[in-house]
Structure formats: C-alpha cells, structure tokens
Symmetry: C2
Subunit: 496 residues, 2 copies
C-alpha cells in the first residue's frame, strides 16, 4: 500500500511517544524520589517539554497530512489509528502553546506545595495556588469548548473519557443517587450483627512492601517491565514498556497499602498488556480513564473483595506478619468488605466509594462551569459529606478537599471515571460469569487465568481500536448498564 | 545594554538546560531504577532527545547570533558565557545528527548489555557491542578532528578537558611513569612492617546506607537538593538543582561503598555549589571533568585519607556497625591508606590508582587513533597490569577490561581526567595549607569549613567563568604542577 501521509503521521507519533516517555519518567520521579529543592527546576523542565510536545502535536503540516492520509488505502487498524491521531490533534490544536506551558507550571507548583500544605491542614496557603490552577483549567475548558462545541466541563471530561458527556454520566449516576444511601444503611445494619476480628499491628513497612510485591506476583504483574515505589498519593505511571506503580504505608494498618497495590496492579497490567505491535501509536494506547479504572477496580474490588480471594491472601499475610486470628479467610473477607463511611476516598470501601465521587463530580462541574469558586469548596464539601455519609468534616481540610492530588494537579473531569470504572468492572464480571460458569470456583482455587485472559482479550489487547461504546458493546454485548453495579453490590453485601 | 542577540542565545541555552534536565533524570533512572525490559524503549527515548538537543544546538541561526552577540556590549561574565556558548556550538556543529542518534543508541545498548555480561565474564558477548561503540567513537573523533584540527584522540579529550591535549597529559604523566613503580614498591615495603587490624563483617547493607548518609552530612551535602541511591557503577548524575549520587554495596567490606560515597559527594557539592545566578547558562556549568575529579578526589583522598579524618569517621563506624578494634582512629587511618595492587580501579588506593589510568589512557588512545582493535584489548590489558602492578589478569575480563562503564558507554578520552584531578587536588591542598597554616589542625578538630570555603570560592562558584589554565593559575598561583601530587604521596605514605 502506498501510504506516505499515513506513514509520516505515524513517524511523528513515534517521536511524540519517545519524548513523552522522558516526561512520564520525570513525573514519576517527581512524585517518588525528588527532593524538595529540585521542584522549581523540574517544573520548568516539564513545562518546557509540555510546550515542545504541544508544538510537535500542532505542527501546521498536520491538517494536510490528516486529510491526505484519509484518502489513502488503509486497513482497519490503520484507520482506527488515524481516527485517534485526528482526535489527539484536535484536542492539542484547540489550546494555545502559552496556555499549555502556563498550565504545566501552575499545576506542578500547586501539586508540589500541596504535599506539604496537606500535611499541615493549610487550606489558607493552598487556596491561592488552587485558584490559579482553576483559572487556567477554566481557560482550557473555554478553548476546548469553543473547538468542540461541548460545554466547558464536558470538554474536560472528554479528555479522560472520550465521547462521554456529563449528561451520560448523570444518566448513569441518577439511579445511584437514589439507591446508594439506602444500600449503605442496609449494609451497615446487616454488618452490625457480624463479629470481625481486627488485625493487631504494628505492620512494619518492610513487611508490607514484601507483601505488596507478592500480591503483585499473584496478580501477574511483570517485574521485568515495571516496579513498585512509594509516593504521597498512590498512582500508576511510567510507560507501557516500564510501568511505575506507587503506594504509601502506615504501620498501624496494612490494608490501605495492600489494596492500593492491588488497585494499581490493575492499571499496570492494562498498560503491560497493551498490544506491542503498534506501540507508540495512539491506537495502541489505553482506551480511556473510565476503562482504565475498570481494570484497577476489577483487580481491587471484583477480585480483591471476592469471597474466595481472601483464601489466596490469607497465607501471604501469615507469611509476612506472622499468623493472627484476623487473617483467617472468612474473617479477612469480612474485613475486606467492611462498609463504613470515612473521610478518605482512596481508603473507602466499595459501597461508600461512589458517594465520594458524586460529591467531587458535583463540585468540580460547578467549579469549571463558573457556578462556584475555590472559597466555596469547604462549605460545599462539609454539606455533601454530612448529607451523603453523615460525617462532620468542618475544619478538616487535610482529610477533606485537600486529600486528593487531582485538583492540585489540574485534573478536573477525571473523578467520574472512577465510578464509571466500577460500573464497567461489574459489567465485565457479569459477562465473564455468563461465559465461564465455573469462574468463581476457579478463583477460589487460585486460578485467576480465566479473569486475566478475558480482560486481556477484550480490554488490554483491543487498546483504542474501538471507541468506548463499541468496546463496551463488543466486550459485554450491551452498552454501559449501571444495573450490573447495583446487582453486584446487593449480591455481595446483602445476599445470604 | 541593548543585547538582543546575546539574550536570544541565553534563552536558547535555558531551553537546552531544561530539556537536558529530563535527559539527566532519565539516565540516572536507567542506571538506578529501570527494570531490564524497559531498556529498549528508554534507549529510543534518550536517542530521540539526544537528536532533538543536537538539532537545537546546531540551529542554522546560531552562527549569525554568535557573531552579532560578539559585537554587543557585554560585561565580563556575559562575554565568558558567550565564549562557552560558542565552544558548545562548535562541538555540536561538528557532528551530523544521524551520528549523534546512532551513538546514543549504540552506547545505551552496549552499556545495558554490559551490566549482565560483566557479571558473566562474557568478553565474547561484549566485544561485538564494544566494536560498534568504538566504530562510532572513531567516526565522532574524525568529525571533531576535522572541525578542530586536533588529532582524533585529542578531539575527544577536549570534550571532557577543554584545551588539554594528549601531549599536555603526557607531559604531566611522564614523570609519574618514572617515579610511580618505585614509590609503590617503597610504600609496600614500609607498610609490610605495620600491623593492621581488619574489620570483621558482615556489614549489613542498611547499616552501610545509613553510614553513607552520615558521611554525606559530614561532608556538607544538601539533601534538600539531592539523594543517594544504588547502581552497578557508582556515579554522580542528575542536575545541579537535584544531584543524584549512587553507590554499590558488598556486605563483606564497607570501605568501597563508604569511600565511593565520599568521592561522589565531592562531585555532588561541586554541582550544588555552582553559582545559581546564571544557572542554565554554560558559564555556570562545572569547568571540566579534570576539575570535577579534583573535587571528588579532594573529598575522597585529600580529606578522606587525611590522618585526622579517621578520627571523624571512627565514631560513625562504631555507631552503625558496633565498636570494633579495627575502627580505632590510628588503625582506621592505616586501613584507609593501605597500598596494595588490585584489579579494580574504583577500589584502588591513592598510590596505585594512577597505574590504572596510565594503562587505560595508553589503550584508549591507541584504540581511537586506530593503532589497536577491540580484540587486542585483553592482551594489552594483561601485559600492562603485569608490568605496572605485577598482577595476572588473564581470562578475568570481569575484573579487567570489562570493569568500567566508560568504554561501553562510549566515553573515550575521559580516563586521564581522574589522574589530572588527583594532581589538581594535591595542588589545591598545597595552596590551602600555604594560606591557612592551621588547616590540618582544623580538620583534626572536625572543622572542614576552611576546605569547603576555599573550594567554593576558587572552584565551585567560578564554574566556567575562566578557561582551565586561568582557573588553575587564579586558584593556586601557578599552572598545573604535578610535583604537588608526588610530594603529597611521599609525605603521606613515606614520611615518618
């Protein structure tokens, strides 16, 4: 096939992929290793590279090449790649270079200062930085909105979940808003009759690290192409060829780090499982952040809180911390499925977690649309936490609106992806069970191959070949159906 | 002052500095963290960036800007910066882009494979990679030679030690070749009458790490702007704003890691002590690799093997490993100054170290000038090790020509800088003692401020303001004078 314009485009994508590799490693290093005085220089370096990547991504030759390539003879995978190249070009081209660099700088500075300010519960110090980040995010949303015709918030959401609008999110979230408070009440009432033995600490950090590595092995992580480190806010970064996961440890409780590691391993295996043939091309990238979270939550919740999974974890806990009655499988499962409203999203159980997302989705949408300001956040937060989870968060900024890295890092529009991911994950497992009737018996026997093979075939190896609705339809035979998530929670938490 | 061309040039340098920051961190990560399967993608990313940096450094606008800036009204510091910008442009412009990218790829691949091959003593596997690296280095030398009129080896040497020719090196090394074998014999004979108590291991890696950090604190390293990690070959990388030092540990002996850390701390403090006002400009960079090694050797040898320094180390050893008779200061000093021919350059004592450099200088010069080939290296190595140090290295490639990262990484022309550095360091301390008659008493009292202040004033803060001969003259009142090094060794190892 004679495809000179297409080949030119793919060579440019390859170049962007290689330069973005350095950016990804430097960002991971910033969170996992960098000493504090290094931040100013790092922020400037990352901003310079953001500007350069943006310049390459908006080269004036691109519109002509995109049109020429569309007229060339391409196979289906190439045509899907061209669609994704065009999508990336549209998003980049909507933003002026100066805004891209200013955004990189403001977000890096705010995020870096946030690490210390969060520890100190310093909302007053944090608010001006966040105002600057929000001002730039609003400008970005305005530019993207003008280019796409979407509302401002939808234009940001589209970067993380292409094709998804806040009306779609609201359609999926509306039933949740209805049944979630009652479900939380019912589960807490049911669990109030259970006896749960608490593990007895302390749990030394070194033993937790070794346990986390064993859990990653159990979940099939490839250590020749990735590693686990520590950071203030756990994340999965790096590049598909070298996945960099992080977690954080507290010696009085091992579950947050362990389940965090299992969560990030889901992200990590998605990246490691992307097709290698077209690596560096947009069509070989992860589909969206909602689909990404469907992998982390397939690992953390669908598998990690599965009744049979406690049987697999139990011997690892005894090995690393010594035997305890709390590590007995049935008790461990009760621990892993204990529902209790709490301040911290990343430590939340599967049932109360969506409440954290509803709250953030409502606040960040109003922030971006200009309906509320940074100074309004604490009162909104306090009100919604009281209403949704019955908790008093007044004055506790550290465990309130300062707990997440997303807003300080300028990631507005990301939060809904977590609960969309939980819904997709429930849908994947419903599909798996329909096709593999013995799936739960296999999991109980420690054979996770059926799960991983299904995910690899339907999610990891398809990458961005299909747009999200087509991926969901092909994988599960129906569009996004939030009823699977409700059914999953009712079965796991209220049945029997 | 109206200096538009100069300002344009400095803005371009700032941009290069920021992008090179990402490159430096990714290179450090490659050595300190990267899992093996990540290497192919990393090598491609680094090569892409090398190509991009080279493209920016050879922009066709630069010759015109350099000429225009030369006609502008500049102060002395700006004029020195312009001189360094022109030097960097000349060196970059001599090389075609394709060679720069091919070099980056070949060197990265060879270095990465070398890590495993060295462990396996696999010369046969290593040799073809090294041939490829050498072929590219010879091409590079040929291009640089054509542009500068220097000989091929001198053209490479000039990249690490600007202005220094192999004839100058040979002038400094010729007396060394004469007196070194006799000095080694005399010192060994003298030390054969001494009793030295050997430390009793094992020395757990964690305790060695904590000791290394304490030694860095003693030497004034700024941990808010740098860190210590592990790698196969110790180095000091990163950027002046965020210095990344590495070392390696063996549990049967703590001295290699400890003295390695003290060595790298010398490099690190030079970088941390560079002037911040012009950071990002070539005039604010470290002067040369010979001057850089003069800092590491001021720390490791002039200070680290100083008779009084053992008194400062002794309590730290007892604290981290428990008390031992071997840690008593006089015995510790005898351990630190023990002279014994050995295979490994980085573990060599101060007296036999120059023999390792003479050997490498002779071989690499012949390799680059085309007088010998990769296949000739083992026999040349064996012959020179037998002649200079009386050691049999036949068949032991691991501890022979495969021990150093320099050749696999394509760093031909670097080795002489170590012994030039040792000579400069002896000259600095001779100058300090002339100006501060109580210097040795202060060191004995744990007050290293006199040393650090002198180095900061005369070396660190001058950065690249003066060319090396002027820096040496200003700092010490005379040109490079290798007699100081001989006098230092005779005083420390044969007096009393």
């Amino acid at each position: 096939m004679n495809t000179p314009a297409y080949l030119d485009l793919t060579a440019r994508q390859q170049r962007l992929h290689r330069l973005a590799h350095l950016q990804a490693i430097a960002q991971w290093d910033q969170a996992a290793n960098m000493p504090p005085s290094g931040n100013e220089a790092r922020s400037l370096a990352l901003a310079e590279m953001d500007g350069l990547l943006h310049q390459l991504a908006t080269d004036p030759a691109l519109p002509g090449l995109l049109d020429a390539a569309a007229a060339e003879a391409l196979d289906d995978a190439q045509r899907a790649n061209l669609r994704e190249i065009r999508r990336a070009w549209r998003a980049a081209n909507a933003l002026p270079q100066a805004l891209v660099e200013a955004k990189s700088l403001a977000n890096n500075r705010c995020e870096h200062a946030w690490r210390g300010q969060r520890q100190a519960n310093d909302w007053t110090g944090f608010a001006p930085n966040l105002r600057e980040v929000l001002a730039i995010a609003r400008q970005e949303a305005e530019y993207l909105s003008q280019s796409s015709g979407l509302s401002k918030y939808d234009a940001l959401l589209d970067q993380y979940e292409p094709g998804m609008r806040s009306a779609d999110v609201e359609r999926a979230f509306a039933p949740l808003r209805q049944w979630l408070p009652g479900l939380i009440r019912d589960v807490i009432a049911k669990q109030s009759h259970e006896t749960v033995i608490q593990p007895v600490g302390p749990f030394p950090t070194d033993a937790q690290k070794a346990l986390g590595l064993d859990a990653m092995r159990l979940m099939g992580f490839d250590f020749s192409a990735g590693r686990l480190d520590e950071s203030t806010h756990p994340f999965c970064g790096g590049v598909p060829e070298d996945v960099r996961m992080t977690t954080r440890y507290r010696e009085d409780d091992f579950l947050p780090a362990l389940m965090g590691v299992i969560h990030e391993t889901g992200h990590g295996r998605y990246e490691q499982g992307l097709p290698r043939e077209l690596l560096g091309q947009p069509v070989a990238r992860a589909r969206s952040m909602g689909i990404h979270e469907s992998q982390s939550l397939s690992f953390e919740m669908q598998l990690g809180s599965h009744p049979a999974f406690a049987k697999l974890l139990s011997p690892l806990l005894a090995q690393h911390f010594g035997p305890q009655p709390a590590f007995e499988p049935d008790n461990l499962h009760r621990l892993l499925t204990r529902v209790q409203p709490g301040f911290i999203r990343v430590d939340a159980d599967e049932v109360t977690y969506p409440a954290h997302i509803l709250l953030r989705f409502d606040i960040e949408r109003a922030l971006i649309e200009g309906d509320v300001e940074v100074d309004d956040i604490p009162a909104l937060w306090d009100g919604k936490m009281a209403e949704l989870l019955g908790l008093d968060t007044r004055g506790n900024f550290k465990d309130g609106p300062m707990q997440d890295v997303h807003w300080p890092a300028g990631l507005f529009g990301y939060f809904p992806c977590y609960t969309l991911g939980a819904m997709y994950a429930a849908q994947w497992f419903a599909t798996m069970r329909a096709g593999q009737p013995k799936l739960d018996e296999q999991i109980a026997a420690g054979d996770l191959g059926g799960v991983f093979d299904w995910l690899s075939t339907h999610i990891w190896r398809t990458a961005s070949r299909y747009e999200t609705p087509e991926l969901v339809q092909r994988a599960s035979g129906e569009p996004l159906n939030p009823a699977h998530f409700e059914a999953h929670l009712r079965r796991r938490y209220l049945a029997a």
